[in-house]
Homo-oligomer: 374 residues x 2
């Protein structure tokens, strides 16, 4: 007798309470993910090369090993029920090793794309998401041609491993172009048009295995010294921009067949009815610009990410109040309690040394809800 | 030369970030306190006799030892910056040992009073807080006199170590009085009038070292089998009852010179304008009936308790939405995900065995804010 039934796609059932979630990375995002997981009755196992990492404080298990220690990775993967990550620069080999043993969510594809600005831009263009004009740059002749095509001002960026303004040079004119190229050359680069944006906004979106998407409202972001300073909600944007921010993020999440929380950063150009949106970059993880959700949404970005990767139903993200998130950078950690207001809610990362430019915590300041969502 | 300055009261400065908070008890309340502490950048050390306690999952340090192990207690106390507790039955000797070495918050007095129904009632009467008629009962002749004075129905309770209906017998008539006494006799007892209450409400209040008090709104509580089943906010009570619930709780917190979060449970008798309030009992700790605050208040009862005992400014407790908290008891933990709604937010305690009557988690169901606070 022959079994003529079709092979059914492997059904993904909800991860049971008491399961262990593996997290690559032990920084503040891993720490807040670990607490969100505990809140849903899950245990967590942090994998991180640095001893004494912030996430260890709130996690039952941890492994201190490098991301290329294939043996430690395999042991870690065998001891957990699903693996997620707090940063997009997880080496491809690390992701592959884990995927071979247990479920990795989000998967390898979003990692690969988010790690490489060129791949990311190709991907976004392939699904008709507007982005800034750009050219890949491998050598000086590419660079000169790209400069010609894009004009100044423009921004030269390394294709890989950039964050918080690292690996970027603004090219104001042809005079400083050579210096910028000289400083970054030797790796794959990309030259982007400088976008004279009115504001920056971002969207945090969650998508589950079944393809359901739930978004948090867009936040309006202000950077100082290339580091996020504040994220405010509601963002002062018109309804068209609001809707486009959501629909583009949804399109991206679907195209990646994404599972978990994804952040999409946008430049808003023009004002009033002429507002337009360009995607700046995507991050396949919980994001600093989504921290505002912690104190004003019943389910915040951390809880939502855990639900998504555990195949639990996604939660309601409706905002209950207005909020301004501000980061505590470096020494600010030492003084913020002096003038803490009753409507201010600190979230502190447990890092011992307040180095310059280091994110030490953030404060959500809560205000009565002023405006309906557009 | 003689120093003629008055001795200044010892100023209590805010506990710095990175300090360690010791918590006596490793159950769900200790677990949620530990997460709230981590969120403010504190480390935690759980002291609990049971290995594998729920709070260990989210705490950096733990000591497994009994509450009468004076050596372990001393070592624990020396390694932390402040000690708090998740349950009121901390032995007096344990509290004294810790207080001799480090700061205990709340202190020994609230523990002593909350551990003994008779002391508690004396205390409440001494500050003119209305309570049910009652009599202390040591022997059968006390009991008979008390029955005579109070009448039936009434409730016989052990003065100490009762919770979730344990150590209580309802005396419906003289016939079952003897059985009830026979079952509980041998320890200090108290006979209370049975209050035919319309509803039960409770208040969670926080008080800091300087005497500032911040309350959470009263919740309306429903018990099943003597265990809290639901707590709903807003409570359906009139303005007078609302105000009295708050002012009595404030009076109690002040009279105890309390530092931390305190719960006060009330019986509401009568309806409409004739509503009256009697204190049923107080709990010198975070409380099951305050769990609703987690998803609808920027600062919840756990964060507020940590702020209070760390001498941080108390936070804003304004409720942003309506909410019904329901406990997951025993086997309910195995099925609740089957029909989890987007507006439902589970908090799961990480206990391995769902024994009958055991609190395994709770769910906060969130609804749009329907009513202004009276």
């Amino acid at each position: 007798m022959t079994d003529t039934r079709q092979k059914m796609p492997k059904a993904i059932s909800p991860l049971p309470i008491g399961s262990t979630i593996g997290i690559l990375g032990g920084g503040q995002l891993g720490r807040m993910l670990a607490m969100a997981a505990a809140n849903l009755g899950m245990k967590t196992h942090i994998y991180c090369p640095e001893p004494g990492s912030p996430a260890f404080d709130v996690s039952l298990f941890h492994t201190v090993a490098s991301y290329d220690d294939m043996q430690a990775l395999a042991q870690f993967a065998r001891n957990v029920d699903v693996v997620t990550y707090e940063f997009e620069n997880v080496p491809a080999e690390t992701a592959r090793r884990i995927s071979g043993i247990t479920r990795l969510a989000p998967g390898e594809k979003p990692l690969r794309i988010a790690q490489d600005r060129l791949l990311e831009k190709q991907f976004l263009q392939s699904i008709d998401i507007p982005i800034a004009p750009h050219r890949p740059v491998t050598d000086i002749s590419d660079f000169q041609a790209a400069l010609q095509a894009i004009g100044t001002p423009c921004v030269l960026k390394t294709a890989r491993l950039g964050y918080d303004g690292k690996g970027q040079r603004i090219v104001k004119n042809l005079k400083n172009a050579e210096t910028a190229f000289g400083e970054l050359a030797g790796v794959e680069l990309v030259l982007e048009a400088f976008i004279p944006f009115e504001k920056e906004i971002s969207i945090v979106i969650a998508r589950d295995e079944a393809g359901n998407c739930v978004v948090f409202e867009p936040s309006e972001n202000v950077h100082k010294n290339h580091i996020l300073a504040t994220a405010s909600v509601p963002a002062a944007i018109n309804k068209h921009t609001f809707d486009m921010a959501i629909s583009n993020a949804t399109k991206i999440a679907n195209a990646l067949n994404y599972v978990g929380v994804l952040a999409v950063e946008y430049f808003v150009t023009g004002t009033g009815d002429t507002q337009q949106l360009l995607v700046n970059e995507i991050a396949p993880r919980v994001h600093n610009s989504g921290h505002w959700s912690q104190d004003v949404c019943p389910v915040d970005q951390f809880g939502q990410h855990i639900r998504a990767i555990c195949n639990w139903p996604l939660g309601d993200t409706k905002r209950l109040a207005d909020v301004v998130m501000r980061n505590l950078i470096g020494d600010e950690i030492n003084t913020f309690t002096n003038n803490l207001q009753p409507n201010e809610h600190p979230h502190i990362y447990g890092k011992s040394e307040p180095r310059k430019g280091r994110k030490m915590g953030h404060i959500n300041a809560i205000f009565p809800k002023s405006a309906q969502t557009p």
